[in-house]
């Protein structure tokens, strides 16, 4: 009897023909799925649907009821200057983080990918910020940034400022200062992504380059960077998705200040929620959702394209 003829239980080819067994076969996948589906429906899908409904109501959290108001909440946020400020700040934040996230981890990956002693140790050291709880990272940096802290002192001593300055409390630098925390925390994470890419580059390319007399730096620019471009698009999209949702490092350092200079979209939603304006928060949440979904779809397209490239 050859392998192919062995009957395999599946819903298409029932092993036993009696009705009870067939009924059980239809049920089997659902027995596996039900526990997770119940949880996801209750705590994820129902709240998501509710958020959509609330965005069209003037929902009151205390009374737990609301009247239908159409697109009134959206009109309100679109005429709210602070909302546009928050949207602009979010975009600015992403623009600060994006170039650094693309290039710094690429350099880190190339460095730790070398065949040198201690490369493994450096990999661990570079990854350390990733495993730090975000709250801890935010507080550590807040300490470094503080006026009498070491970073302010350092920037003053190298002559960047004429007196020790806390970058987090200047409205011109606060958003940038917060973005640096995000970059610091993500370096190792994106480095790993590039490392996966580096593993796919054939060693022959480097050998050929070195025979032709190319220096290490030249190989990096002419081979490593171009070969990592597909990965850098993935890094970019992930940076955008995560950047849209930036919250902890802002709430715990500047709390959206000074004077709204670091109020991002999520800070805006959070503040509306704290004021119990949950319908406004939901409407702003839907704007966030649309942006996040657009970025995610882009990511999926890129990922599946990459998979196709690998297969083809």
């Amino acid at each position: 009897m050859s392998r192919e003829q062995i009957p395999i239980p599946s819903t298409n080819v029932p092993l036993k023909k009696n009705r009870k067994a067939k009924g059980f076969q239809i049920l089997t996948p659902w027995l596996f799925l039900i526990p997770a589906l119940i949880i996801i429906t209750l705590f994820l899908i129902i709240p998501i649907v509710e958020a959509f409904i609330w965005s069209l109501q003037d929902y009151k959290l205390i009374a737990q009821s609301g009247e239908f108001v159409g697109l009134e909440n959206f009109k309100k946020i679109f005429t709210d200057e602070l909302f546009w400020r928050a949207l602009l700040n979010t975009i600015l934040f992403v623009l600060f983080v994006l170039p650094l996230n693309i290039f710094l981890p690429m350099i880190l990956a190339a460095l730790v990918n070398q065949k040198i002693r201690a490369a493994g140790m450096f990999r661990v050291l570079y990854y350390l910020p990733v495993v730090t709880p975000m709250v801890v990272a935010a507080l550590m940096w807040r300490m470094l940034y503080s006026e009498s802290g070491f970073l302010a002192k350092f920037l003053y001593e190298i002559g960047l400022f004429d007196r020790p300055t806390n970058l987090l409390v200047q409205s011109s630098t606060a958003l940038f200062a917060v973005a640096m925390i995000t970059v610091w925390k993500g370096l190792g994470y994106y480095m790993m992504m590039y490392l996966a890419g580096l593993q796919n580059i054939s060693k022959d390319l480097y050998e050929a380059a070195s025979i032709d007399g190319a220096s290490k730096l030249q190989s990096f620019w002419k081979i490593t960077v171009p070969m990592l471009i597909p990965y850098s698009t993935l890094v970019s999209v992930l940076t955008i998705i995560n950047g849209l949702k930036v919250f902890e490092e802002i709430q715990l350092t500047t709390n959206g200040g000074p004077a709204g200079a670091t109020t991002t979209l999520v800070m805006y939603i959070f503040n509306k929620f704290m004021d119990l304006d949950v319908s406004i928060a939901s409407a702003a949440g839907i704007v966030l959702l649309i942006l996040a979904v657009a970025a995610s779809l882009l990511q999926m397209k890129l990922t599946s394209k990459r998979e196709e490239d690998l297969r083809g």
């Binding site: 996948p29 526990p35 997770a36 996040a292």
Partner: protein, 273 residues
Amino acid sequence: MQTKKMLNKIFVYLIMIFIACITVGPFLITLFMSLKSPSEGIYESILPQQMTFSNYIDAFEKANFGQYLLNTVIVTALAVPLNLVFCSLAAYPLARMDFRGREVVLTLIIATMMVPFQLYMAPLFQLTGNLGLRNTYFGLIILQIATAFGIYLMRQSYISIPKELEESAFIDGANRFQVWWKIVLPLSKPTLITLAIYTFTFTWGDYLWPLLNITTSEMNTISIGLAKLSQNFDGANMKLISAASILSTIPTLLIFIFLQKYFVGTTDGAIKG
């Protein structure tokens, strides 16, 4: 030529050490800060003049960090196994069985991965209030019990297992559940560990949801405890905040050091709502 190569190597090492200073420096500064004695100025020098553990004792005795650490351990110890069981179960039929509704479930799961938490946190807040889950351990992990991300990750792992392994078990008379438990699951161990690490680090450091769902200080997790402590961000409090920060990071650090090789996998499916 030889000296040039040598110089090159030294230069590369110097760059690597410089970057390491940036990534590790903030930890070291915080660690040194946490070891400074009460009488010492906080920013006079980086290194403590007189090493003391009194800030750590204060973190436990005055700031109640023992309780916060315990709460966080309980929450994480609940979330990780539940997440592994629920996700690895649900992923199996999505990877291997052919049934009506499969595509719908799969699409739904991938779709929920894209939804930012901030959209539905208010309805969820109301729901946990109504269900009596405010200020409970269970209330803190509801989003970690079964995650779309976890199901997706496990499914990817199952798909890569050769079907022949399962087929021979079916011939021996094993049922679906036995095949999942005895063959598929053991073969997915690396992915399970990756998922466990992911759930652990996320639950351990989770901030926004505990911030909403905890209203009494004895239920605080380390994130909330730290945030509350930092509301008074002046000189005298800085050493205590540093000690608490170090305490909060040690468990994730230990896990990272021991399970290093699995951490690479945590970059696999990077979106999470």
